[in-house]
């Protein structure tokens, strides 16, 4: 088990390999479909200091607003990442993002982006919304809440021992490709 704390350096990222288990600590920024479209098309400057050497989490949380106005996460598992495939590599490069958390893995374009900039794809257990919300210790801030709505907003949070698996590394490795190829071969045999 490898412990990582954001901000993360390129050197730390380059040491990670497919299959490594990671416990992530520190600041993480949530973003999904609307955020990624916005980042690629408008490249807002204000996000640069927030995202540099940080980790993006593909997640649309269930959020509770408390009476004193502060927020906490009630359920916060990963959403399917492949929807961000058209945007991810650009986002990683523009904002020097070091890691992307999600589920299901991503495609070739993202893999190339990970290799070029020095970033990894970190897989979280889909559906484990309660467990993962418990590891989201604090909501620091939220951006674009009005414009995007709660599931799509940029939630800036602090996580503690957030359990992840490196399924795409910065050297072109992908656990998803390995499992896909093996299951396709097995399916071919089953179908005769």
């Amino acid at each position: 088990m490898i412990r990582l704390t954001t901000p993360i350096t390129e050197d730390q990222i380059r040491q990670l390999k497919v299959g490594d288990e990671v416990l992530l600590n520190g600041r993480v920024v949530l973003s999904r479909d609307m955020g990624h479209k916005y980042m690629k098309e408008q490249k807002p400057e204000w996000l640069k200091p927030i995202l540099e050497n940080m980790v993006i989490y593909h997640c649309g949380p269930v959020v509770k607003k408390h009476e004193d106005g502060h927020y906490s996460f009630v359920a916060a598992g990963p959403t399917t990442s492949i929807r961000e495939e058209p945007y991810q590599a650009d986002v990683i490069e523009t904002y020097k993002v070091r890691g992307v958390i999600g589920k299901g893995g991503m495609g070739k374009k993202t893999s190339e982006g990970l290799q070029k900039t020095g970033a990894v794809y970190l897989h979280a257990t889909g559906g484990a919304g309660s467990l993962l919300a418990e590891r989201c210790k604090r909501v620091v801030d939220v951006k674009m809440l009005e414009e995007f709505g709660s599931p799509e907003a940029f939630w800036i949070i602090e996580v503690e021992d957030f359990p992840l698996v490196v399924t795409m590394d910065s050297h072109g490795g992908s656990l998803h490709e390995i499992v896909l190829a093996e299951s396709q071969a097995r399916a071919k045999a089953l179908m005769g």
């Binding site: 997640c59 916060a76 399917t80 897989h123 919304g129 309660s130 390995i178 499992v179 299951s183 399916a187």
Partner: protein, 326 residues
């Protein structure tokens, strides 16, 4: 991380103590016009969103225990069990994607479907306010979220299927169908030359294997499949979802179909996709198949994929007025 978690849920007494239904609440089924379903449906949603059905938990535990201890598959299934316990204990959603909300209402003659729909909608709005449901209803093109889970035109969300029956009780089932698993559902038209799938049970089997390979871990495996054989493009998909309401481990009433389900389940679990697509022996928890009628020229195989967090539940209002949840 690999400590083997035993899935002990809160007792029936604790569940009752957290109910939004007042102690001793009863429905007056003699007066269907005056009946208000809002509160019992709200309670149904509270349970469904936070408490996984026992048969699904049993299947996940069985899958975990068949994986090598300490393996990625074992650890992942163990985290799923851990998550189930937390959500139940805190009464929080099992998954942040609380899904599209689909209701099936079966009722005796005399219930106003229009009034019932309003009450179901009110319960969904309330459950959303309480953070039991995430607002999951957005305008298709702009992506604008209504914030309430309501489709303002009363058409598609929440989806409500009504059926009048001869029995005296009212039964309301709900399914919370997540977006990730909905996206990996598939509909095939047989014959399918690319798959080499003809218009027979072998062809159907090929479609199912193909759909699961294409889905990989993206539908949050281990999944549960509803497979409708026949029907048209709409009724096939509709049936495939309804099939997922069946409890895991209950046999298909059609013995041939039952044998087919078991055989395909075993086949799929040799694919090596495993929990979340990390590799492993637990790719699906079950397959539910049903044969429908079809137009002679069409042969559809419609497959709905439900994630491991198969959130479904049924409330029954008996003629005595008592309410039960299953």
């Amino acid at each position: 991380m690999s400590e083997c978690v035993i899935p002990t849920l809160t007792t029936a007494d604790v569940v009752q103590s957290k109910s939004v239904l007042p102690q001793g609440w009863k429905a007056d089924l003699a007066n269907l016009k005056g009946l208000d379903l809002t509160l019992p449906v709200l309670e149904l949603l509270r349970r469904t969103t936070s408490r996984l059905p026992q048969d699904v938990i049993d299947a996940l535990v069985k899958g975990r225990d068949a994986e090598e201890e300490g393996s990625r598959a074992f650890n992942t299934l163990n985290d799923m069990v851990r998550n189930i316990i937390l959500a139940d204990g805190h009464v929080t959603p099992l998954c942040q994607d609380t899904g599209s909300i689909i209701f099936w209402v079966r009722h005796p003659f005399g219930l106003s479907q229009r009034a019932a729909k309003q009450q179901l909608r009110a319960a969904v709005v309330d459950a959303t306010k309480r953070s039991w449901l995430r607002p999951n209803c957005v305008e298709s093109l702009s992506g604008k979220n209504t914030g309430t889970n309501m489709d303002p035109f009363h058409e598609h969300h929440p989806a409500v299927h009504f059926e009048e029956w001869d029995r005296p009780e009212i039964a309301i089932s709900v399914m919370q169908k997540g977006g990730g698993c909905e996206n990996v559902g598939a509909q095939y038209r047989l014959p399918d030359a690319a798959l080499g799938a003809g218009r027979d049970i072998k062809g159907v089997r090929k479609c199912i294997i193909d759909a699961v390979v294409k889905a990989q871990g993206q539908g949050c495996s281990p999944g549960i499949l509803g497979v409708a054989i026949g029907g048209d493009r709409v009724t096939g998909y509709e049936k495939s979802k309804e099939l997922i309401l069946r409890k895991l481990g209950t046999p298909n009433p059609d013995p041939k179909m039952d044998a087919f389900e078991k055989e395909v389940t075993n086949d799929l679990n040799t694919l090596g996709i495993g929990p979340m697509g990390y590799g492993g022996n637990t790719t699906v928890l079950g397959v539910m198949a049903e044969e429908m009628y079809r137009h002679p020229a069409s042969f559809y195989v419609s497959i709905s994929y439900m994630c491991w967090s198969s959130r479904r539940g049924t409330l029954t209002l008996k003629p005595s007025g008592e309410v039960s949840f299953d």
